[in-house]
């Protein structure tokens, strides 16, 4: 089930990132199962799904650190993995692991990657300064990395992947395991990438992160994209404007309420002992009379995700 057909709309420029029928198996496990995904140039696309959906494998395949069993991948017109090094010179990658060099200073960490990303020698100092500003660590430039706080390290990690001003940026779970305050800071940093002209593919299992930062979201489950579109469009299409949550007194009442809502033509989802009615604004008065009054709230991407996959994300 996809909200928009795979492939770019007719007449648009070639996508910055393109995956076609990509399959990756690990023994009996199929991590990525015929993935089709295009990321048009200049947008932030959030790849949203629970742990194990195949997001990280997809990210690794884009840097050629994981080789697809079949399918085609191309980044800025370079076939991956065949011409992957060329693609990687134009691409900035921020991985999940904090693999900063702790003995080195903030500036040195940036300088090392400016060199690895092949920024010409004469331009490296300027690239490093830009990285420092981006990470808001200009005043800490000569501090050893192991003296930084967790939030500072993450900012440096992101700036390190952007030090060469890449045209394509891959962010693999950029805020995983961080406390909410640091997450907010990083969202600000990632948000600044928008409008800079770069194409960003960000994997996340945080709904809020995907919703706030992405122009478009691709919902991934069991190695496939199950829906794709702007967050507001996806929500409108699959969950309507609002959701109403009811607390049935037991399994029987739950089943009865579900049946009533379904008879009215609306989808539901269960979360523990709560029954959520999607597109609650369309709930017929006759059904409402039977259900009583629930808690009304705005629909969100989680509703879409659970409805489409039966799985939960955070």
């Amino acid at each position: 089930m996809t909200s928009s057909p795979p492939g770019p709309p007719a007449g648009s420029a070639a996508p910055a990132i393109s995956l076609r029928g990509v399959v990756k198996r690990y023994g009996a496990l199929t991590a990525v199962d015929g993935l089709d995904l295009d990321v048009p140039a200049g947008i932030v696309l959030g790849l949203l799904g629970p742990n194990g959906a195949g997001k990280s494998t997809t990210m690794r395949m884009l840097t050629a650190q994981s080789r697809a069993d079949s399918g085609e991948i191309s980044i800025l017109g370079h076939a991956v993995p065949r011409a992957s090094k060329r693609a990687r010179a134009l691409m900035g990658v921020v991985q999940q692991h904090d693999n900063l060099d702790e003995e080195l200073t903030v500036r040195e960490n940036l300088a090392v990657f400016a060199h690895l990303y092949r920024v010409p020698r004469a331009e490296r100092p300027a690239a490093v300064e830009r990285g420092l500003r981006m990470a808001q660590l200009t005043d800490r430039a000569d501090t050893r990395t192991d003296k930084l706080s967790g939030g500072m390290r993450r900012r440096l990690l992101i700036a390190r992947g952007l030090v060469h001003d890449p045209r394509v940026v891959l962010l693999d779970e950029p805020t995983v395991g961080l406390d909410p305050q640091i997450r907010q800071q990083l969202w600000g940093l990632i948000n600044e990438l928008r409008g800079g002209g770069a194409t960003v593919l960000m994997s996340t299992h945080y709904i809020e992160e995907a919703e706030r930062l992405s122009d478009e979201v691709a919902l991934m489950a069991k190695g496939r994209i199950v829906a794709r579109g702007a967050p507001a469009d996806l929500i409108a299409e699959h969950a309507g404007k609002s959701v109403e949550e009811f607390l049935p007194s037991g399994a029987e009442e739950m089943a009865a309420m579900e049946a009533a809502v379904h008879a009215g033509g609306l989808p539901t989802r269960r979360t523990g002992s709560t029954l959520s009615v999607l597109r609650a604004e369309e709930l017929p008065e006759s059904v409402r009379a039977d259900l009583g009054q629930g808690n009304r709230r705005a629909s969100n991407l989680e509703d879409v995700f659970v409805t489409l996959t039966g799985e939960r994300v955070e």
Partner: protein, 272 residues
């Protein structure tokens, strides 16, 4: 970086065939090593110099006072040249084995580098090259100390850094290969005791091999370190050009084999 710079990078990258081995990434990895070395040269240098010196003093003067001459040399001369080879083995094989393992498994350093335009061949080459450079320099330390104790200097000793470099390159690659073979850091004990110890003892480092059983002599002949020991002794006491070219050839073959093994196994570990 400016638009222009982005274009320049792209143009430079596009000129080469997509899968080609490039020097730029090797230099990038070396630049990182240099930055790290500037932080850690103190302890590294201390260990690399003080350890062989202690060996030299202990064996040279301790055992040397009993042994006197060995294989036609004063024992201090014999042992000093042997310790050069031992020092090269230790300063290349241990970093190759342990540092590479730690960076790959615990620090995820290579995962980060391979996301940049660097491939496994370039990464392995650069890591081994850096280790070999250090081995080339530090390997000379025991010789210098031995000179203080009366080893007569010879012009051909200027070959020693080169001998130490190629040997260090080979053993760094061997260490990198083994770091990618061992399933866990605990199993490195098998390598350290089962591989490194016999390598450095059965090479003519501390005792001549002439009177040992044929099996041991055969092992020595295929042990690259034996050829290093022979080269260093010839550099110190008189070259034997034909034989020495043979020793160099063995070490070069060793480098090629170890490079292929290291790249193959590291690729298996780093790319799935």
């Amino acid at each position: 970086m400016t638009e222009q710079a982005s274009g320049a990078t792209a143009a430079r990258t596009a000129r080469s065939a997509p899968g080609r081995f490039e020097v730029a990434p090797v230099l990038g990895v070396l630049a990182r090593e240099w930055a790290l070395y500037r932080r850690s040269w103190g302890p590294t240098t201390f260990a690399a110099i003080v350890e062989p010196v202690i060996f030299l003093l202990a064996f040279g003067f301790g055992l040397g006072s009993i042994v006197g001459a060995i294989g036609g040399y004063d024992y201090i001369e014999f042992i000093a040249t042997g310790i050069v080879a031992m020092s090269v083995l230790f300063t290349s094989m241990f970093p190759g084995l342990i540092d590479t393992y730690v960076r790959r498994v615990f620090q995820h350093t290579y995962e980060g580098m391979l996301a940049a335009p660097v491939d496994v061949r370039e990464l392995v080459t650069a890591e081994a090259f850096w280790i070999a450079l250090k081995a080339g320099v530090y390997g000379c330390a025991p010789l210098g100390v031995a000179m203080l104790f009366g080893l007569p200097p010879a012009p051909t000793m200027l070959f020693v850094p080169f001998i130490a470099f190629i040997t260090g390159f080979g053993f760094a690659l061997l260490g990198i290969w083994m770091s990618a073979v061992v399933p866990s850091i605990k199993t490195m004990d098998y390598i350290i005791s089962g591989v490194i110890t016999p390598l450095f003892l059965i090479a003519g480092t501390f005792f001549p091999l002439d009177n040992l059983p044929p099996l041991v002599q055969t092992f020595a002949a295929v042990n690259p370190l034996y050829h290093t020991v022979e080269l260093v002794r010839d550099a110190a006491f008189g070259m034997d050009p034909l034989a020495d070219l043979g020793h160099v050839a063995v070490i070069l073959v060793f480098i090629v084999v170890a490079w292929c093994l290291a790249v193959f196994q590291m690729r298996r570990r780093l790319i799935d």
